[in-house]
């Protein structure tokens, strides 16, 4: 009994931290996407282009990871489906 509740608590804790990650991700993205502004004078360079796409790809990968973990953790279990899909 005690162990079960502890386990559940950990599960919930983990889920909340995952949700935190999902919330923080766009803030991280915003910060990274604002970097070109710091380098506004140089403007478009190949390096800047590569930086942008690298950051972009990284964010996409992170988002995929977080989404996967969130789904697996059961955070989306209360998802509401379209009515006709419902039993």
């Amino acid at each position: 009994m005690g162990r079960a509740t502890l386990f559940l608590a950990r599960e919930g804790y983990r889920r909340r931290r995952l949700a935190d990650m999902a919330r923080l991700l766009p803030l991280l993205g915003l910060a990274l996407f604002l970097v070109p502004v710091l380098d506004a004078e140089d403007g478009l360079t190949a390096a800047m282009l590569i930086y942008l796409f690298a950051v972009w790809g990284g964010l996409i990968a992170l988002s995929a990871l977080v989404a996967r973990l969130l789904c697996r953790s059961g955070a989306m279990d209360d998802a509401v489906r379209a009515p006709e899909d419902a039993p």
């Binding site: 991700l25 996407f33 604002l34 996409i60």
Partner: protein, 894 residues
């Protein structure tokens, strides 16, 4: 160069393919098959309606003109999608639970189902999106023109307008066919979505193909490409921080507020989980779409003749190098981008126009006449179809009017900025309970007005709407009112200026008015429903039972939802209420359910009004007022508490009822018990009294009679005493007042004692014992236990009806328990009586034989309970058989 006729043929074939795909998808969906229609992949691809012709062609042009800035148009949406946990998830959940049909419906529904807001958002959307549709028509026309043979002929450049008209007409046809096929309860269009997904694939492949061709075919690989970028005029093109931030914000706002995005994102969403996939897959799509933009721009600028339109590099680069097939693919990509946008945008707009403008107008016109005469369903569909035609016509007209403008991106951004005015009301509406209808109205009006004043009207150019003097010096020469320099905000980029001014005014107006005004009850309930959608996914402002007849409602519902679906809903509701047939009771729950279902077709405000028209009252009930008497948060808590309380009440009531039943039963038992006791006491007393009276007047009675009568009196008084003893014993045992005298005893001794005590009774009863097995030592109350044994032995004596009555006493000690079985060879106790023999006064035979009050076994049961053991009847032993079980506490075999 590819023959123009061939291109037209390819284009027509492609369109036919789209029609076919849409048709098949619709049919499969209608047949209930086609699970793949509802995959996260299709959902993600359908989101690509964000990438219009503007991004397909225009992004390259944008990059060629302004460098890196084009990418902000994709960065904003990327941020929103990787941040889906914040807003998108909530939007989709609200859309699902509230059956939202459009962005206007969302705003209207959130702010108390206000139709004024619905109308305003619809107008903003129409005004904001029309130029955008014009833009798509223009891009398709321009791309056709690229292929058109110069010179005279049926496809001469002069005929661009008719091309645009043909395209607009074709799109209208497609959209009407697949967008208004049915008045779907959820406004989902499988056919359209699939066609959009196909187009998404086509445009991505086309752009990637051109990009690959440019990088590896023309530039000579990645490193060579990087060198060419460094050497191009684009290199070092500075970034304007204000525009970078402003455009990122604008694009982020647009993805949430554009009607077509809302349509695919929320309305067409099948499953919230798809969002999890889209959260990374859609940014990946955007990333791929923009990957080759800079290379194409760089190579295009270098290789195409000066003055070539950079907006068309995607087409002209392959053409210039003789790659007709690639050019045709690129053309199809651009065509796909344009058409998918127009289709979804016109569906979204037509839904808004018909739900928020046409239907309310119709309702107010028919209010006085017979309720809901005419087929509303047809009316709604027709309104949608005309709206689609109207929207496309508007787009075409706009295209004709603004024919000269070549900078596609400018129109796109203006459109974005206009529609972004909905953002404060939207985000405030789903995040902040304090947002009110008046606040939203104020914010929207201010923001939209300022947008028009500072951005839209000036965009027509000096002299079109605003005179050059007004633009330069402000109205009436008031310089701080200049459209592009409000409040002296000079030096800002006009777009950023307009964005800052309009959004600031919008947010300020929205927040200030919201704080100052007080929401009405419906608003407050809706606010709580939207903001706390994850805690609470049901209910809404309820209907109180009114004068509505179920039949009227059914008639109306049939007109809107179609007969089958409406009847199914009514029948389901009736069944849920435990009724047969099609007419459920008009409960508030049912009305709410009906309203939800109708809202899926005609929007929340209209559905509310329609139900209100029939129920006879669209005001909120006292109950609703009570529900919002407190802050909405408290309301939710209160209602959940109430729910808990009412559950508790129900539980208490149940317990009370059970207790009452038990009491009644006890009272009946008590009466029966008293009556039994009375009987048991009075019977011996009757004999005693009768014979004492006889003896008192015993003149001349024979001595032997006198002796016999005295003996009867004696026996009966003994019987009385025994009964009283038993009763006392039982009551002491039952009340738990008995004190046990625990000591170590040997089972054999106890049985000996019992056999001896019943010796006088035994008569013919043979007792079989097993001395070895009886050598068990126990820690128990020996007197009490032997009382049980005595009872059982005397019962056997009294009731065993065998010829040669025998009683076998078997002892078995195992697993810390001792079982003593008393089995006789009589006919036993019938099965139906076995359950009651341990009850008080449950004598099975007549009293003469029993000589007891029927308390013996009841006492035995009580004693065994006290001793921590039990006594049960053992069926199937050949005769009456009782098993006495005891825990073998601290005892071992002797």
């Amino acid at each position: 160069m590819i023959a123009f006729d061939l291109l037209v043929a390819i284009c027509l074939l492609y369109v036919a393919l789209l029609f076919g795909v849409a048709f098949l998808a619709d049919r499969r969906a209608a047949a209930g098959r086609g699970g793949w229609l509802r995959s996260p992949l299709i959902y993600t691809l359908s989101l690509s309606v964000y990438c219009t012709a503007w991004t397909f062609y225009g992004a390259v042009g944008y990059a060629a003109r302004s460098g890196l800035e084009f990418v902000t148009i994709y960065l904003g949406p990327t941020l929103i999608f990787i941040g889906w946990w914040w807003t998108l998830r909530k939007l989709v959940r609200i859309g699902r639970t509230q059956r939202i049909t459009s962005i206007a419906d969302l705003i209207s529904s959130r702010y108390g189902k206000s139709n004024a807001l619905g109308v305003i958002v619809t107008l903003i959307a129409v005004v904001g999106v029309t130029p955008y549709i014009a833009l798509q028509l223009q891009s398709v026309t321009l791309s056709f023109a690229v292929f058109a043979p110069s010179g005279a002929g049926p496809w001469a450049l002069t005929d661009l307008n008719s091309t645009a008209l043909t395209v607009a007409g074709g799109l209208a046809l497609f959209t009407i066919l697949f967008g208004t096929r049915n008045l779907d309860a959820n406004e989902r269009h499988h056919g359209v979505v699939i066609a959009i997904a196909v187009e998404a694939v086509v445009k991505l492949i086309a752009l990637l193909a051109v990009g690959v061709f440019v990088v590896w075919g023309l530039a000579g690989g990645v490193s060579a490409m990087i060198e060419r970028i460094e050497a191009s005029p684009l290199a070092g093109m500075p970034i304007q921080p204000g525009r970078w931030i402003g455009l990122t914000f604008l694009a982020a706002a647009a993805i949430l507020t554009l009607p077509r995005m809302f349509q695919v994102l929320v309305v067409e969403n099948e499953n919230e989980r798809h969002l999890a996939t889209a959260s990374w897959a859609f940014p990946a799509y955007l990333c791929l779409m923009s990957l080759f933009v800079v290379p194409i721009a760089v190579v295009g600028l270098a290789e195409m003749p000066a003055g070539a339109n950079p907006d068309l590099f995607v087409l002209t680069l392959p053409l210039a190098h003789g790659h007709d097939g690639l050019a045709a693919l690129a053309f199809l990509g651009g065509f796909s981008s344009a058409t998918s946008m127009v289709i979804v945008a016109s569906i979204a707009l037509s839904t808004m126009v018909s739900n928020h403008i046409v239907m309310p107008l119709f309702l107010s016109l028919t209010r006085t006449s017979a309720p809901m005469s005419g087929d509303v369903r047809m009316l709604v569909l027709r309104a949608r179809r005309f709206s689609i035609g109207g929207v496309l016509l508007l787009g075409y007209l706009y295209y004709r009017m603004s024919g000269g403008s070549e900078a596609l991106a400018a129109i796109g951004l203006i459109s974005f900025a206009g529609i972004a005015q909905v953002l404060p009301a939207l985000v405030g509406g789903i995040m902040w309970r304090g947002a009110t209808r008046l606040g939203a109205l104020a914010g929207l009006t201010l923001g939209f007005g300022l947008w028009a004043y500072t951005l839209l009207l000036p965009s027509f150019g000096g002299g079109a709407v605003m005179g050059p003097a007004l633009l330069a010096e402000g109205p009436w020469g008031i310089s701080w009112l200049r459209p592009q320099g409000l409040f002296g905000l000079d030096g800002l980029d006009p777009l950023v200026h307009a964005l800052v001014v309009s959004m600031a005014a919008n947010v300020l107006g929205f927040v200030t008015v919201s704080l100052m005004t007080f929401p009405d009850p419906i608003e407050r309930i809706q606010a709580a429903q939207f903001v706390n959608v994850f805690d609470h996914s049901s209910a809404g402002p309820g209907w109180r039972q009114g004068g509505a007849e179920a039949e009227d409602l059914l008639l109306m519902a049939q007109r809107i939802m179609g007969a089958d679906e409406a009847q199914a809903l009514f029948r389901r509701s009736a069944a849920d209420q435990g009724k047969q047939g099609f007419l459920p009771d008009i409960t508030p729950d049912f009305l709410q359910r009906l309203e939800r279902a109708l809202a899926g077709s005609v929007g929340a405000a209209t559905a509310h009004a329609m139900v209100g028209q029939i129920v006879g009252r669209s005001a909120v009930s006292v109950e609703d007022l009570m529900r919002v008497a407190d802050e909405t948060a408290q309301m939710m808590e209160y209602s959940s508490q109430l729910e808990a309380k009412s559950e508790e009440l129900a539980r208490t009531a149940r317990q009370l009822r059970e207790a009452n039943e038990k009491l009644t039963e006890l009272s009946v038992q008590k009466d029966a018990f008293l009556s039994q006791i009375s009987h048991e006491l009075r019977t011996p007393m009757t004999s005693i009294r009768a014979f004492s009276e006889i003896l008192m007047g015993a003149d001349g009675m024979r001595p032997e009679d006198m002796g016999r009568y005295s003996r009867i009196i004696h026996e009966e008084s003994l019987r009385l005493t025994r009964l009283l003893d038993d009763l006392l014993d039982l009551s002491v045992l039952e009340n738990g007042q008995v004190s046990l005298n625990l000591q170590e005893v040997t089972l054999a001794d106890l049985i000996d004692r019992a056999v001896a005590a019943t010796g006088s009774l035994q008569g013919g009863l043979t007792i079989r014992r097993d001395a070895a097995a009886e050598r068990v030592r126990l820690m128990t109350d020996g007197d009490r236990l032997s009382q049980v044994f005595i009872n059982l032995i005397s019962n056997a004596h009294k009731y065993c009806d065998a010829e040669g009555p025998e009683l076998t006493i078997r002892v078995r000690a195992a697993r810390g328990a001792v079982a003593v079985d008393f089995v006789d060879n009589g006919s036993g106790i019938p099965e139906r009586s076995q359950a009651i023999i341990f009850e008080k006064f449950s004598r099975l035979t007549d009293p003469r034989k029993a000589g007891g009050a029927g308390l013996g076994l009841a006492i035995c049961r009580e004693i065994m309970g006290r001793l921590g053991g039990s006594i049960v009847y053992l069926p199937g032993q050949g005769g009456a058989a009782f098993r006495v079980s005891l825990p073998q506490v601290r005892a071992e075999a002797a």
